[in-house]
């Protein structure tokens, strides 16, 4: 079990510069700035096979190589710390515990991209993390890791930490850019992609916190070494934030390719379902990915072991698979109500839709209302089909992926747990009572 990012997270005082430096911090900056050219760093990242850790899993090296480099136009690196996906809290842990790791990654990555002004966009709810980061940035400035002529290499970098207002949509890269420019956080139409015209119309790369942090071990040990960990195209380690009805929830750094079974039941990881109950369902990658029923969590539809990799979790497409997403691993035990959970997710997306394009604005609100009725014992059978149909009309027809993110969990819940939706229609009174807490857990299951 190798840990690359959270290797020193338990060292006391690791959030301070002195301790971090003593544990070998900022070695990657020294190595990159003194011995490597920006192209070398890019080459190492490409070799590592690192894929975006924010959810989509797009190869980071490829994203970097798409960056337009017109003469005389400044370029920017933005760190997306607007981690707002329900169930995901890995970036928060990393920034809280080892803020200097992110800053080190930002310096090395900015060097590779030729960016002289970089930003960390952090969500408005993480105000205390903002303080931690700002303190760390100040320490980095004091010790000459940021500012003019870093390490005498001639490379300048200014790093700013900007808080958002607390909107989920600002985690979408173009909405993030709009928000950073001081506008309403509406996603932009693509193309042009940020790599061509991003922040202030300049070429911009937007990366997740974990992706940027992963550049540090990649530069330190080399891309080939990093690529040795993992299975196939899923290389390296991944932070998984496990939550829900688990014996030991928390943030884990896993090597790509361990089995889902080991992750849920293994002693090193979550140690099984809380209170000895049974697994009912699992959302493996944050609230926007399809939910998996218990029989598809540890095994794929073809009977193979499911692994914690991008490919294996997506095995079977949306019929019988899901996605690794951002690594927000939510587990439900036998007592949880899928309809209530689906309604909860739908409520979140209805609240967070920016309201720019019609399918998302109207569709998310509609789904929320229908699910609300179903959950509260006011639904009809036709509502279930209606939900499935609304889904299809939203999916793929919106400007940004929020529409898809809202549609997928509802579609998957109906696909795998239709019987529960039907139970809510057929047992209106019971559903209503259960909602108001009139029926205890015991009588409900009996």
């Amino acid at each position: 079990m190798r840990r690359l990012l959270l290797e020193h997270d338990q060292v006391p005082g690791i959030e301070t510069y002195e301790v971090y430096r003593k544990q070998g911090g900022y070695r990657s900056v020294e190595k990159a700035l003194k011995k490597m050219s920006p192209e070398d760093v890019l080459e190492e990242v490409k070799k590592s096979g690192l894929r975006g850790r924010g959810g989509a899993g797009f190869p980071t090296g490829m994203k970097w190589s798409f960056l337009a480099k017109p003469e005389g136009v400044p370029r920017h690196l933005l760190c997306n710390a607007d981690e707002s996906e329900p169930g995901t809290f890995k970036d928060r842990y990393l920034m809280e515990k080892i803020p200097h790791l992110l800053i080190e990654g930002m310096i090395t990555s900015s060097y590779a991209l030729g960016a002289n002004v970089s930003y960390i966009y952090i969500r408005g709810e993480y105000m205390w993390v903002l303080d931690i980061l700002e303190k760390a940035v100040a320490e980095a400035y004091d010790n000459g890791w940021l500012g003019k002529n870093i390490l005498g290499s001639g490379f300048d970098l200014d790093l700013y930490v900007c808080p958002g207002g607390g909107a989920y949509i600002c985690g979408e890269e173009t909405a993030l850019i709009e928000s950073l420019e001081g506008k309403r956080g509406n996603p932009r139409m693509k193309p042009p992609f940020p790599a061509v015209a991003g922040l202030w119309g300049r070429p911009t790369v937007v990366n997740n916190v974990e992706s940027i942090a992963a550049v540090v071990p990649i530069v330190n040990d080399g891309g080939d070494e990093y690529a040795k960990i993992g299975v196939g195209r899923s290389t390296g380690t991944k932070l998984i934030s496990a939550c829900g009805n688990l014996e030991r929830p928390g943030v884990y750094e896993i090597e790509m390719g361990i089995t889902v079974e080991e992750f849920i039941y293994g002693d090193d990881y979550c140690r099984g379902i809380a209170k000895g109950k049974k697994l009912k369902a699992c959302v493996p990658g944050g609230s926007s990915v399809p939910i998996l029923p218990h029989y598809l969590v540890t095994k794929t539809a073809t009977g193979e072991d499911r692994l914690m990799t991008y490919e294996s979790l997506a095995e079977g497409g949306f019929e019988s698979g899901s996605m690794l997403g951002s690594g927000g691993f939510i587990v439900f035990d036998e007592d949880q109500c899928i309809v209530r959970n689906t309604w909860n997710f739908a409520r979140f997306y209805a609240h967070e839709s920016c309201g720019q394009c019609s399918p998302c604005r109207e569709g998310t609100g509609w789904m929320e209302k229908v699910l609300n009725r179903l959950e509260h014992g006011q639904g009809n059978m036709r509502d279930i089909d209606l939900l499935a149909d609304i889904n299809k009309k939203i999916e793929g027809n919106t400007i940004c992926p929020l529409g898809d993110a809202a549609a997928w969990p509802v579609a998957a819940a109906i696909r795998h747990f239709r019987d529960e939706f039907e139970w809510h229609v057929n047992h209106r009174e019971e559903a209503q009572k259960r909602n108001y807490g009139l029926i205890s857990e015991k009588t409900a299951s009996a």
């Binding site: 139409m189 209805a350 309201g355 720019q356 019609s358 604005r361 209302k369 299809k392 793929g396």
Partner: protein, 320 residues
């Protein structure tokens, strides 16, 4: 020039043209409907999703189809692109879905709406919508807001096309209104109760595809199809002075800009023919105007009813 095929009709257009504009060059019923795109206002488009089309061949070089439906107002054509609009069942289905979304929270108060008859949402719903609704919930409503004594804002009817925001941004010195809140509750408003008053704010009424922004000086006066539209001009130092006056008997009921088949203002002297608020709201006397002749409204909507001549008759007359 690049070659593009839309619904089996081939046309050569300038590189950089959008699919929608290429379709408009062909004309006819293969033109996708557009509720938010407005060619005279750069930056509009992409929001309403009614102009979705299917691209079955990306280009000559890369013939792969595009997996998602594309918004034709913002997708530029490639050489050898093949687009399906009317001939694609997938497009028709999804467009019907979008129309349903636009209508679920719309009050459907056409009988008392001043826009009725020239409303793009009416046309869209008539052509692509279903007869009934599957929406059982209460419709969304907004608190009424006063934005001045010339323009009436009726937020419940709004489809959030953002056109009026672009008018304020691009035609006037200072924008005082915008979109507040988000998701279902997003609304057009001034943040602090404020009148939208400047020389060109009235154009917001012309660009509004629905009855969300209407002329207060024309409010509840008449149905638009009872009025006779006439091309008229006046000497105005603020705008081109070329407008359409809508008359009933000897009275001018309202003044609008000259709009084309897509509801967009026509070009006057090489510029978009926006008219100023003086011409629109204050010059309601026939003596203010020089009447040029009858206005042919080339739209398939009800508004084309009150004509002296139908477009066809008009063309026939020209040929003679």
């Amino acid at each position: 020039m690049v070659k593009v095929t839309i619904d089996d009709q081939v046309i050569e257009v300038e590189p950089g043209t959008t699919i929608l504009n290429a379709a408009r060059q062909i004309g006819g019923d293969i033109v996708p409907p557009a509720m938010c795109y407005y060619s005279k206002l750069p930056g509009t488009g992409g929001k309403c999703r009614t102009c979705l089309v299917e691209v079955v061949q990306g280009s000559e070089k890369d013939p792969r189809p595009m997996p998602k439906l594309m918004v034709s107002c913002s997708t530029t054509v490639q050489d050898g692109m093949v687009v399906r609009n009317k001939t694609s069942e997938r497009v028709q289905k999804n467009r019907a879905g979008v129309v349903e979304f636009l209508l679920i929270n719309h009050p459907l108060d056409c009988p008392i709406c001043d826009q009725a008859g020239e409303c793009h949402l009416q046309d869209l719903g008539f052509e692509n919508g279903g007869a009934g609704t599957r929406y059982e919930e209460e419709r969304r409503t907004f608190a009424p807001r006063d934005i001045g004594n010339k323009i009436k804002l009726h937020m419940n009817r709004c489809i959030l096309c953002y056109r009026c925001v672009h008018v304020a941004k691009q035609l006037t010195d200072q924008r005082v209104h915008g979109v507040l809140n988000r998701g279902e509750h997003a609304e057009i408003s001034t943040y602090i109760e404020n009148a939208i008053e400047n020389d060109f704010s009235g154009n917001m009424i012309d660009v509004c595809p629905v009855g969300a922004l209407t002329d207060k000086t024309f409010r509840f006066k008449s149905r638009v199809w009872f009025l006779k539209p006439l091309n008229a001009s006046c000497s105005c130092n603020k705008c081109s002075g070329k407008a359409v006056v809508w008359m009933f008997g000897d009275e001018i009921y309202r003044v609008t800009a000259r709009k084309d088949a897509y509801g967009e203002v026509e070009e006057q002297d090489g510029k978009a023919g926006w008219i100023c608020n003086d011409c629109r709201f204050d010059k309601k006397d026939v003596h203010n105007w020089q009447i040029e002749g009858p206005r042919v409204i080339n739209r398939h909507s009800v508004i084309s009813q009150g004509h002296y001549l139908s477009p066809r008759q008009h063309d026939q007359k020209k040929i003679k």
